[in-house]
Symmetry: C2
Subunit: 407 residues, 2 copies
Amino acid sequence: MRSIAIGVVFALSFCFAQDSSDFKPASSNVLDAQYPKVDSNSRVLVRIMAPNASTVKLNFWSGPKMDMVKQADGSWTATTPPMAPGLHYYTINVDGAEVSDPGSTAYFGGGKWASAVEVPEAGADYYLPQNVPHGQVREIWYHSSVTGSWRHALVYLHPGYDASKTRYPVLYLQHGGGEDETGWIRQGKANFILDNLIASGSTKPMIVVMANGYASRAGYVVPDLSGKPFGSPGFLEVMQERMGAFEDDMTQVLIPFIDKTFRTIADRDHRAMAGLSMGGMQTFQVTFNHLDLFSYIGGFSGAMNVFARGNNSLDLNTAFHGAMADPYAFAKRVHLLWIGVGTDEPTRMKEGIEDLHASLEKAGIQHVFYESSGTSHEWQTWRRDLREFAPRLFQPVGQPSSVGHGK
Amino acid sequence: MRSIAIGVVFALSFCFAQDSSDFKPASSNVLDAQYPKVDSNSRVLVRIMAPNASTVKLNFWSGPKMDMVKQADGSWTATTPPMAPGLHYYTINVDGAEVSDPGSTAYFGGGKWASAVEVPEAGADYYLPQNVPHGQVREIWYHSSVTGSWRHALVYLHPGYDASKTRYPVLYLQHGGGEDETGWIRQGKANFILDNLIASGSTKPMIVVMANGYASRAGYVVPDLSGKPFGSPGFLEVMQERMGAFEDDMTQVLIPFIDKTFRTIADRDHRAMAGLSMGGMQTFQVTFNHLDLFSYIGGFSGAMNVFARGNNSLDLNTAFHGAMADPYAFAKRVHLLWIGVGTDEPTRMKEGIEDLHASLEKAGIQHVFYESSGTSHEWQTWRRDLREFAPRLFQPVGQPSSVGHGK
């Protein structure tokens, strides 16, 4: 009986905590939108007007999937359990139509302009605008001889860039599959992360280029993939074709354009590339195929071995043109190889990256393995990756092989 | 009988024209999205998956409102009559939920991230990226002592800015109600319009600043307007409060910040302001209250008299601190007063602006009245305004009073 009574007390206190009634509009909402709301327990309350709908469902892509409940005023609501901190993509399914929430800022993810809600992380202000000098983000357009089209990219310039005459190193920073070149600024808050890091003195002033990760060679006809699920074979073929086109566009057109347009230090010792998920795969492909151009490499939840391995194993002696066959030569040539993962990522992704880390360790390949505690295949993981990765770039001394943890 | 036969022939030929089957994905779609499509007759075919919906409606905000028809595969489709050229906002109503089309780029309009479809205009390439030098659009953040917050703005810098040491004039260019500072670039293509105008030599190189038109003074609590229709009394009060805060932020914080951050010519002879709709109202309010700061004024479908008039009449002798009481002095002081309107705008808007034009003519106030032929209260009107307005800015000779037409 005693244990039951304690159970009841616990349950009651949990209810009280849940009914704290301190829901506030999310910082990711559009101007004046009252919903979605987040409370101090990191629960999210979503609401949409759909007076004539039969079934409305809430779909957090890396989180809860819930039936929404119809209210007397024709709205539908759902409250999630406590969620991990960070920005969580979601859509709402109204009688079979998978749509965005009009109350949310639209973020480009999943190949469309989706909704997302920002769940604050207690004590974490490294990605918020602070009272420090702010860099600018420039939109640039360049004509690509590879794609035969005008292409759009974003470029972060640190706060001191305009007033100086100095040249700076460059980080190429790529979004994930289904996202675009706006992701690192809009979702990732990369500009604020870098503003804060640079202001603290921990990170070298740098130029950060965020390119559009999709490219098609001039004349290539994209097959109609409407109706096919994202990730099915047709998508993989398109992705491989596009990764090749992207590699050519980046190395033959974008990098020369950036080096011509901005005051860069245009050599491999002052050029880094990193990316998340698909952008991590692109980073491994581009950098290992062009080690004459890059010396810092970051994979944020990015699988290295998707394209390099046959039959589920990565042979480090032959992979990537044998770049890792000699660990000592590799460590001299590549100043930083970063492998990051969130501890709550889906098992398949997590194990793939952990296996890669283990393979690298076993082969004696110098690298940094970083685990983001309690986060999934989502932006909070990648914000933390950037926060830890950027200070290690373009520093005069080499980086030791180490294992990091953090939130 | 003969007239009936001719009618049938006409109907048939119309059907043939309608069934031209040359529908192509709109340029405003997200990557790979096959719908919406536009045909050579400027008809728009919209499609959304909603297999379990009872009623799906297509809602072009300044165009057709149509029932969509369910197809065997669970999608719903509708094809519009031929539409005017330009970018048309729309939403789709799925069983009472007014939502965006996942196939469309999201544009911030109507206070949310809405859909829009680009209907090409035959022969019009002035807002398309061409093989000319491209300027950059910079995102800037500044801390406002008026709002007590970080504010975001976009700044267009013409292609020659970085390589020169020269100082340049500035145009402040404002979006409409329900839109934000991204509107002139995303929807309006202002950067491409200016690239093309500057490349042609018709327009002076200039800096264009696009600020967020919503501001609230620090401590001001925005009333909950959820559920109230846009434009109802609560909105007007908020808008007036915000216009005052916006005026202070622009004149006390933003302009000094821009003059400090960029190589501007920081005097009234080299500073212009223009805006569309609500942005036109803001332009009139800010410029006429600060003629010490501005000498070029553009109202694109913007009512001048909403705040200046009582009882439905605008007394030019007293309005705006009597700035127009002396037409000769006004013409010497204000180098350009531009009043633009689309010939197909809603009657109330069109008549308000035509009345203003007539009042100015009668009072002998030098101005340019521009009518965009066949376009409504939409972006094609404002793209044309900008194309005609920008070449008249910062030119050495005064502008004659004239009436323009064009498409």
